[in-house]
Symmetry: D2
Subunit: 375 residues, 4 copies
Amino acid sequence: MEAHYDALVIGGGVIGASTAYQLSKMGYKVAILEKNQIGCEASGAAAGILGAQAEIDEEGPLLELAIRSRALFPNLVAELKEKTNIDVELIQKGLLKVATTEAEANVLQDKAERHRRWDSDVRWLSPDAASEAEPLLTPDTYGAISIPKDGQLMPAKLTHALAHGALYHQAAIYENCHVHHFIYDNKKVVGVRTSAGNFYSDQVMVSAGAWTKELVAAIHPKHLFPIKGECISLTTNQPSIQKTIFLDEGFYIVPKAGGRVVIGATKRAHDYTKHVSAEAIEFLISKAISLVPSLANASFEKAWAGLRPQTVDGWPYLGQHPELDNVYLACGHYRNGILLSAITGKIMAEQMMGEHPKHSFFTAFRLQREMEGTY
Amino acid sequence: MEAHYDALVIGGGVIGASTAYQLSKMGYKVAILEKNQIGCEASGAAAGILGAQAEIDEEGPLLELAIRSRALFPNLVAELKEKTNIDVELIQKGLLKVATTEAEANVLQDKAERHRRWDSDVRWLSPDAASEAEPLLTPDTYGAISIPKDGQLMPAKLTHALAHGALYHQAAIYENCHVHHFIYDNKKVVGVRTSAGNFYSDQVMVSAGAWTKELVAAIHPKHLFPIKGECISLTTNQPSIQKTIFLDEGFYIVPKAGGRVVIGATKRAHDYTKHVSAEAIEFLISKAISLVPSLANASFEKAWAGLRPQTVDGWPYLGQHPELDNVYLACGHYRNGILLSAITGKIMAEQMMGEHPKHSFFTAFRLQREMEGTY
Amino acid sequence: MEAHYDALVIGGGVIGASTAYQLSKMGYKVAILEKNQIGCEASGAAAGILGAQAEIDEEGPLLELAIRSRALFPNLVAELKEKTNIDVELIQKGLLKVATTEAEANVLQDKAERHRRWDSDVRWLSPDAASEAEPLLTPDTYGAISIPKDGQLMPAKLTHALAHGALYHQAAIYENCHVHHFIYDNKKVVGVRTSAGNFYSDQVMVSAGAWTKELVAAIHPKHLFPIKGECISLTTNQPSIQKTIFLDEGFYIVPKAGGRVVIGATKRAHDYTKHVSAEAIEFLISKAISLVPSLANASFEKAWAGLRPQTVDGWPYLGQHPELDNVYLACGHYRNGILLSAITGKIMAEQMMGEHPKHSFFTAFRLQREMEGTY
Amino acid sequence: MEAHYDALVIGGGVIGASTAYQLSKMGYKVAILEKNQIGCEASGAAAGILGAQAEIDEEGPLLELAIRSRALFPNLVAELKEKTNIDVELIQKGLLKVATTEAEANVLQDKAERHRRWDSDVRWLSPDAASEAEPLLTPDTYGAISIPKDGQLMPAKLTHALAHGALYHQAAIYENCHVHHFIYDNKKVVGVRTSAGNFYSDQVMVSAGAWTKELVAAIHPKHLFPIKGECISLTTNQPSIQKTIFLDEGFYIVPKAGGRVVIGATKRAHDYTKHVSAEAIEFLISKAISLVPSLANASFEKAWAGLRPQTVDGWPYLGQHPELDNVYLACGHYRNGILLSAITGKIMAEQMMGEHPKHSFFTAFRLQREMEGTY
């Protein structure tokens, strides 16, 4: 098989699907080449917190990217629902970042101060106020930051809605498609050779998560690696929590539709397996019950793991390949892939199609820093 | 355990969940007693067609019930989404009832005429017009009735949304709760004895589908029985059909969100098993491909069966028990349980709470006809 | 449908399947009537320990029953493999009953003494000897009883092998068959009315676990009830334990084929749900890791619950119904259903077919004690 | 991570597991490096027919390999059961290769003649004799070859038993381990770089099925490719067939333990997806019912697909890499991977460890023919 496209997107996770959606919506003929199934890796394993403020405490390009991306979701979700009938279950009831010790409370109060500079809705809640905000939270906290704008959604549904949104705009989806290598014409990338045949295009984006480095030699193998996160879900027919509960260390309890809560996540660097260890489950349940005691009686539903792609400096690689003109990269979003997917897809699509960059801060994420060792 | 409620609903299918939702929304304290899991029987196995006109061709109480019920869904779906975050994927793109022979075309044209008397949007489509309305339909039809108002949704999600909507209004849900028998106080039913203890209430509704007769002696065992329906689903990453395809014999292809189609259903009376036979799958696939040839390449997803409760005259039993003042029945909806759930829940809740009946046609569904043998 | 059989077995758990197997092997025409699927309740949820000595410490009829039953398994397993090709994975590598405190060690040493009277292979192991016997056991024990004859097997496979063994001998299996009530002819039970029609036979056995009382009025509802047990399984590609690890409180870790271990079980009386609670999983994992530390890294596989039928005095009901000549009961085996299935099936079949009772101790299990309140 | 082994086996399918088992049994320290899970590709998707004679009609090296391999199974299965407790459900009740037209009958009678030269147990059965041999076979055949020695087993269980047999002999198993490339020391392969770190060894075998060519440049990409096979399974509680039913075109119905039958397989070359198409299921069911009419009522269980690695001349590549001294290949077994696994593992292990080749015919399978284009 041979086929020509305006753009190829390698990797059908949320980043690839978002970019393909934007490209096809702009009228370009796009193919998504996915080695397994759409959304089968980190994108489908995430908890879906749109934690722009929960996850990022420092002002700078990453926070700007995150806050802009978060703001895109209400409209994006509505247009995907319209086009694909898929509802991604966006819930905007806010997040509590809880202090479990006095020391943590001091740290979090400082963070709350900082956040209030750019978002006056952020508030520090006393232990009593935290209990009032979320009655099922243990009364034994040391207070919490209330971040009302950090919503959440169902990541696997978002990924499928983006891919089917691309389909709606005439994109093609190839699953179980193994990309072997680039096809060059006189040092210029003109396509890819795959298990499903050759695909030709002048624009190729690689958004293959932790596997991106297998295709892109410019990334040092040690500079992009998975951090495995293990999660579980519980269900209940009792009243459940309404707000996302979040700890600074990266632990969270996320209330989904229909009485489900998602609890995560461990962090195991360089582990490519999807096993969920016995001790991980014990840790997640024990921590969840200490924060929301009524979860002790909730029903166990399932356990899973995702391999979140991390870079050496913690920032994603976004933008044009430093040496190959027609190759673009978008990978390394670590825990923020879902949150950042909305803006990443939009900016990448614009860049690939030669639109003048509107977002100067975006250059901070270029792969050049990898080449130059400037982090 | 002993507990007192304003009303008990026995059976957590779509009818029970809908009634419990309406009762709890009216402010009553309700418990749903479900022998297995919410929505685990016919409600979760349905295809979810809101086929008021596709399923019913005769004017009369059943058609009136169906058309009124269909009209309630847009608002109901929106309020459930608001309260539970569950989207039931209501799709309102219409239905084509297709003629596959000239004889069928004659019959369907007559039916189209009749429907047009009360719905001027119904139209008869020539074979070419049918192909234009749904390009993936085989061109080899003998025409089709276009019924634009018959929508569809995800039945399991509707059932869960109704049950969680009841939960939102402080109802209690007891799963794996076996109801052994009524508790009488001086010939008056005052509660039920169950595997989870005794529940007391002056109002008891039984909406246990084909199992209702095990509890309600007034129903002759042969007058309420399951008609097993076997279904399959396929998925595709190719463009898929947009409209529900329906044959007069009760065969259908229903396009769901995300490239899924549901294909059903066989009819096996008196079969309580949930097995899906090899020949049923062969029949469903072969028929589906003959109508929509591109489905040949769609991916098989799964097969399942539901036991749809049928009555001897084909109409549901709705209303007060003829001999037990405090006992109400709502069962026997056969293929129309999802469609009729919206209005059934509303009217049953009103009746149970003594509201003056607004819908005189509703008396046609009383169990008295069973007692009197007047059908 | 109407059908005549030599014997009807109501309940397709391990007890019913074993009796049906023995009856059909003796040449009788048997039908198994099962409300859901063969082995879908407690029989399929058990861990499969043949713990004649691990579970029972007192001499008497129950121990005699258990030891005789355990001795039947090697031949039974071989003949089922021959007839059905199903291997039930019988493993006879013994069991360690571990002391985790000094007080427990004292109790267990006494028990070891007692057991040695009738089984000289039983030995008390010092902490060092226990570690040597099972190197993956934590060295921090207070010793253990070694019971080399208590083997284990896969309970769901045993149940299916027995049912298919009955099939091999021309028995009939009806799944999803709801038995409504007995059919009497002049006060004599002559059959049962079911959702699949009427079945006639002069011999009816009820082996429906915790649901037996729904059919047999002679059993007081409070005298036969489920004790829910929650279990999990882990898998590993590392070397695993070889011996079953058992605590006197009823906790166990059972090594299965292919690197799987089954860990159980909680005890929740009167709970008919199959939910597995978050706290149960935390408890099971935490206890398992404290005994076998290397399990911390094993992969979580799944969680499940079974409703084990318990009687008020802890002994099963076995034998003829005290008032209905043709009705037999075999239920209430609690945690010992798998272990006792071999002998129960054999003796029940003999009794039903009028063979002279060979086992006088068997009368201890008659339902009369229920009627007479003599426990 | 860095580790040294006596031998590395890349690919944890049945061929890799068998070789690792034999190597570790010989006392060598072995690691299996598997990109997903043990047995997750073609090995786990096969039907498990040991069809030495059913599949191969020409005398020559392939038939010799197949017949020798088939003869190894009874002992292999017994030793794996002993070491791992895994029973692979070897059934040796023979196979009927059925003629469905007169023309086929003529072809098959010739084949039967040929087979009888080296196996006098092979017989040609008239239609009546075929019906007698397998009473559930349709009487409307044109006769059948009876091949009593072609048995069958459960392929996923065999693969796991081999891997756990290797574990028993101290081998290590790495799942989710992506092998990136060989590590060379002065043109000699000394190990592999993987996602789980570097592994060093002087002996490396690649048995990665259709993916082998991604690692071994000497194989032309077009000379090793998948032929997707789609299968389904049915179950029944009725008496089922005893013998494997086989058609010359490669269609089969295989009776497994416990009333299960496996039906396969389609053939789709160059298709890397695991989708099972609607038309494939229709084809398999319709063909199966035409041969064994009672299967019409059997219950559908599941559908799956496997990617069987095929070579350009239809023979596997077995032996040393023509240019890299320390690299061995075993791949391309197409439909015969399970059958050939026993002998392949044995001979490959012997070759890798420098044992003098005992089987001169084995040289026919060398990769040299690929290099030299001598097929």
